[in-house]
Every structure is written in structure tokens, then in C-alpha cells.
């Protein structure tokens, strides 16, 4: 299968402090990859580096083109939607305005209106809350909103930063089943960063295990799941 995202030798640092030491990983077209690892391994930094939110070196090929020199806004315009750590809610705007923001780079009003309906179809709770100030939504609802907002871009690739963080197990299950449907029905590829390895390995095709800025293991999700040593040492379950 051909690759949608191909990252080679990705380095990134905060000031003088180097966080990523040359990562290689990929996301297949239509596939789901996951980056696993403990706190401080560099997972969030990796996503931020992909989107140009921090300085980075290395090559990042998206649909064959190197995007490592591009600004965040331009990468988004290529169809990369980032669901950031902390969800990035526009707390002062309404739920629906948040969703409209997700489609800000698109032209056709008719298509946007259709996708808004689709977003409410995926997440009916958001329809109930459409005119409510988004900052007053619950944590789970805000996570749904963040994912729905990302979908409003009609992305080719979604980067999800710990979507399960702080959510009740039941909501996590629901969210991941929606992500699976989105992946299958809309052919949106995904790169999911998670600490909750058990759930995400059920969903992903490929997994990359990160430890303090290096990838220490990679393989299919099944291989990682079945590797007792890796599970005990890095994934803690």
C-alpha cells in the first residue's frame, strides 16, 4: 500500500533542548498509525513538529511532497487536521461556530452545510449543544467537538493527540468506534498519539513505540500488541 505520510529523520527541539532524535515513521493511505509511549517520550512534540508548530528538521513527505518547510496554516490547507493536546476549543464561540471554524479554508457553502449535518450525525450531542458556548461543554463533548471540527476540513490525514485523555472508559469506546467508522467510510487516514495503548492498538494498523525521542520498536499493531516485552516495558498493560 502506498504511503500518505512518510517521515524520515525527524528532529525537533525546544530551545537548546533536543526532544526528537531522528524519527522514522509512516501512515498508509487510508490507514491508521499510532505513536505510543510514556509521558515525556515526545509524542505531542512529534505531532507539533509535523504541523510546523515548532522548529524541526528532517523530511516529512505528505502525498509525496516535502512539507517540512511549510507553515502551519499551509499544511492545514493541504488537508492535515490536527486535534491538539487540550482539544484547542474556541471557548468563547458557540459549538456551531467552532465547527464553522474547522471549515474556514473551504469555499463551497453548500458542502460546508452538508458536512455540518454530517458532523452532527456523527456526534448527536453536539447538535443539542450547537448554540451553547463551547467552553461550557463537558470534557467528553469538547473532545467530540475537536474531532468534529477537524473533520470539517475534509482532511486527508488526521493527527489526534491523546483523544482518550481524561475521558470515561465508556466515552473512550464510543469515540474510538466513531473514529473507526470515519476511517472506513470517509477514507480519512489517522496518526493517533496515545498512552491508552490497549484501546488504540485495536484500531490501528501500524504502531510505533517512542521512548525519549527515539522509536524503539515499530510494526503492525498486532505485532506490538503480542510482544510481551514491549508491552511490559513501554506500554504498561
Amino acid at each position: 500500500m502506498s504511503m500518505l505520510l512518510e517521515v524520515t529523520g525527524l528532529h525537533a527541539s525546544y530551545g537548546d533542548f533536543r526532544v526528537l532524535h531522528g524519527l522514522d515513521f509512516t501512515v498508509e493511505k487510508g490507514g491508521i498509525s499510532t505513536l505510543l509511549g510514556a509521558n515525556g517520550a515526545g509524542k505531542t512534540t512529534t505531532l507539533r513538529a509535523l504541523c510546523g508548530m515548532i522548529k524541526r528538521t528532517g523530511t516529512i513527505r505528505f502525498e509525496g511532497n516535502d512539507i517540512s518547510g511549510k507553515a502551519t496554516e499551509d499544511i492545514v490547507r493541504l488537508g492535515v487536521a490536527h486535534v491538539p493536546e487540550g482539544r484547542g476549543t474556541f471557548t468563547g464561540l458557540t459549538t456551531e461556530e467552532n465547527l464553522q471554524c474547522g471549515a474556514m479554508t473551504r469555499r463551497s457553502r453548500a458542502e460546508i452545510a452538508r458536512d455540518l449535518e454530517q458532523a452532527y450525525h456523527w456526534f448527536p450531542r453536539l447538535r443539542e449543544r450547537r448554540n451553547q458556548q463551547a467552553g461550557t461543554l463537558s470534557g467528553g463533548e469538547q473532545q467530540m467537538l475537536a474531532i468534529a471540527r477537524a473533520l470539517m476540513l475534509r482532511p486527508r490525514l488526521m493527527l489526534l493527540d491523546e483523544p482518550s485523555f481524561g475521558l470515561a472508559p465508556l466515552i473512550v469506546q464510543e469515540m474510538f468506534s466513531i473514529l473507526r467508522k470515519v476511517n472506513q467510510e470517509e477514507q480519512v487516514s489517522m496518526l493517533i498519539v496515545e498512552q491508552n495503548a490497549g484501546v488504540v492498538l485495536e484500531l490501528a494498523d501500524n504502531a510505533f513505540v517512542l521512548e525519549t525521542g527515539d522509536i524503539v520498536m515499530s510494526g503492525t499493531a498486532a505485532e506490538v500488541r503480542d510482544n510481551e516485552t514491549i508491552r511490559a516495558a513501554y506500554l504498561g498493560y
Partner: protein, 291 residues
């Protein structure tokens, strides 16, 4: 009774100007979290440009849109050339830059057009309505400021660019992640603030007369309005502007100790009182956030 009505109308008319200045200040404050002390000087300079065009014989109906357009471009240029390079510099650097802008624009206006006081014709002509209760200029001031404020409200509430500007001001990082060009949204905000200031300047110039220091007190009242309404709330700033206009006029008329001379301290008194007792202002909100 007639005196009260007259003072109320005067208060609303000047209050509209304060509301415009307050809104200009708040728009920029929302985007960069600094108070633009040079807002008034920018408006004054715009008014001089209008005066110059009038002096060259350009008809009034053409002068206003031209001045507004030039002011918009000027505001964008100031953001691009002066404010943007500052980036995340500490608050003192911003204050110094704003004071610098203030001094430069003020002196430049004095240098070009000198410091003598010039009369400025009203776009609405002389005369008054309702038996002298309200002058034509006051009617024009109220109508124009209301129209400007309503248009801005519609713009921010119902257009995509308006939504993008609100999103960029509220959460720049998230705005970038949905593809909004945050830098340009801030520049657009500066342009619009500058254009609003130009309208305010042209409307108030026939009353306070044209000179490089004409906007000094106006901006103070504008600040008072913004603080009263809440620096985080454009609606509040507009409301605050009108309130300050009305309070200023009524206090000046009915409290003999204040009179005409002590009107300006009312603005300062309001600023201090609000900051001491309700720092978020009447409409300012501490944003509700659940984690």
C-alpha cells in the same frame, strides 16, 4: 426638562464617538492584549488627511470613504511594520512602542499642518432640528456611529472573516490549526480599528476643532468606556462609551463643582473606580471553562 433632554442627546452623540474609540481599542486589545495608546493619534492624523482633501476641494462625500480607506491601509501598515516585529516582546516594550508611535504621529501632524487650531466643517451642515433641541451635526453623529456599530456587529457575527477574526483573537494556536492566517487577521483588526478611528475623528473634529492634540481627551474617554464595559467585550466597550458620554455631560451640567473644567477627571475617576471595584468591567467575562 429641555435641558436634560439636550444634555442626554449631547451625551449620546459624543458617547457614540467614545464608543467608536473604545471599540477600536478593544479590538486591538483582544488581538494582541495590549492597549494602543496611539489609537487617538492615528484618528487625529486621519482627520487631518480628511481636512487636507477638503482644503484641496475634494467633495465631502468622496473625502469620507477615501479617508477611511487610507486609514485602513495605514493601520495595516503600522501593524505589519511596527507591531508584528515586536512579536511576544514584554509588555514594557509594547508600551514604549505605543508611546513612540504617539509622539511620532503627533509631531508629524504638527510638522505638516502646524499646531494652530483649525475649524473643521460638519459633513451634515449647520442648523438644528426640533426647535434647537438637537443640531444637524448631532443627528449625523448618532446616525453614523450607530450605523458603523451595527455594521461591525453584523460583520463579526455573521461573516466568515468576522468569525475567523474572533477565532484568531481568542485562540491563535487553534486558529492556525484550522488554517486561519492569524497574522493577517490581526493586521485586518488594526486596519479596521484605524478606519473606525478615522470616522470618529471626522465626526468629533467639528466640535473640538482640529489640532494635533484633539484626540487626547477623546481617547481618555474611550479608554474609560472600554474599561467600564470591560476590555474583553466589544459590546461592553460600546455600551461603556455611550455611558461615559452621558455621565460626562450630565455631571458637567448638574453638579456645579464639576462644571465644564472638571469633566475630564470624570473619565479618570471612572477608570480608577471600575478597576478597583470590578476589574472585568460591567460586561467583561471571566471565560467559563470546564476541564
Amino acid at each position: 426638562m429641555e435641558l436634560l433632554a439636550q444634555q442626554l442627546i449631547t451625551g449620546i452623540a459624543t458617547g457614540g464617538i467614545y464608543a467608536c474609540m473604545a471599540l477600536a481599542v478593544v479590538m486591538i486589545y483582544q488581538a494582541i492584549h495590549h492597549l494602543n495608546f496611539a489609537q487617538g493619534e492615528m484618528a487625529m492624523f486621519s482627520t487631518f488627511i480628511a481636512w487636507q482633501m477638503l482644503a484641496w476641494g475634494v467633495p465631502y462625500w468622496l473625502v469620507i470613504p477615501l479617508t477611511v480607506a487610507l486609514s485602513f491601509v495605514g493601520g495595516v501598515a503600522i501593524e505589519r511594520l511596527v507591531i508584528r516585529p515586536l512579536g511576544d516582546a514584554p509588555v514594557l516594550s509594547h508600551i514604549v512602542v505605543f508611546i513612540g508611535l504617539f509622539a511620532i504621529i503627533n509631531s508629524l501632524a504638527g510638522f505638516i499642518w502646524d499646531f494652530t487650531i483649525k475649524p473643521f466643517p460638519s459633513p451634515f451642515g449647520e442648523g438644528s432640528q426640533f426647535g434647537g433641541l438637537i443640531s444637524n451635526h448631532q443627528i449625523g453623529m448618532i446616525a453614523v456611529t450607530m450605523a458603523v456599530l451595527v455594521m461591525l456587529f453584523l460583520f463579526f457575527q455573521y461573516t466568515r472573516v468576522g468569525l475567523a477574526m474572533r477565532a484568531a483573537a481568542e485562540n491563535p494556536a487553534s486558529a492556525r490549526l484550522v488554517g486561519i492566517r492569524v497574522g493577517w487577521m490581526i493586521a485586518l483588526g488594526w486596519g479596521m480599528a484605524s478606519a473606525i478611528g478615522a470616522i470618529a475623528g471626522i465626526l468629533i473634529a467639528p466640535i473640538v476643532f482640529l489640532e494635533p492634540n484633539m484626540m487626547l481627551s477623546i481617547l481618555l474617554y474611550g479608554f474609560a468606556g472600554a474599561v467600564l464595559g470591560g476590555l474583553t467585550s466589544p459590546t461592553g466597550a460600546v455600551f461603556g462609551g455611550f455611558m461615559v458620554g452621558i455621565i460626562e455631560n450630565l455631571a458637567g451640567t448638574y453638579i456645579p463643582e464639576i462644571g465644564g473644567e472638571l469633566k475630564l477627571p470624570i473619565a479618570l475617576f471612572l477608570i480608577v473606580t471600575v478597576l478597583v471595584f470590578k476589574p472585568t468591567g460591567l460586561f467583561g467575562r471571566t471565560v467559563v471553562q470546564r476541564v
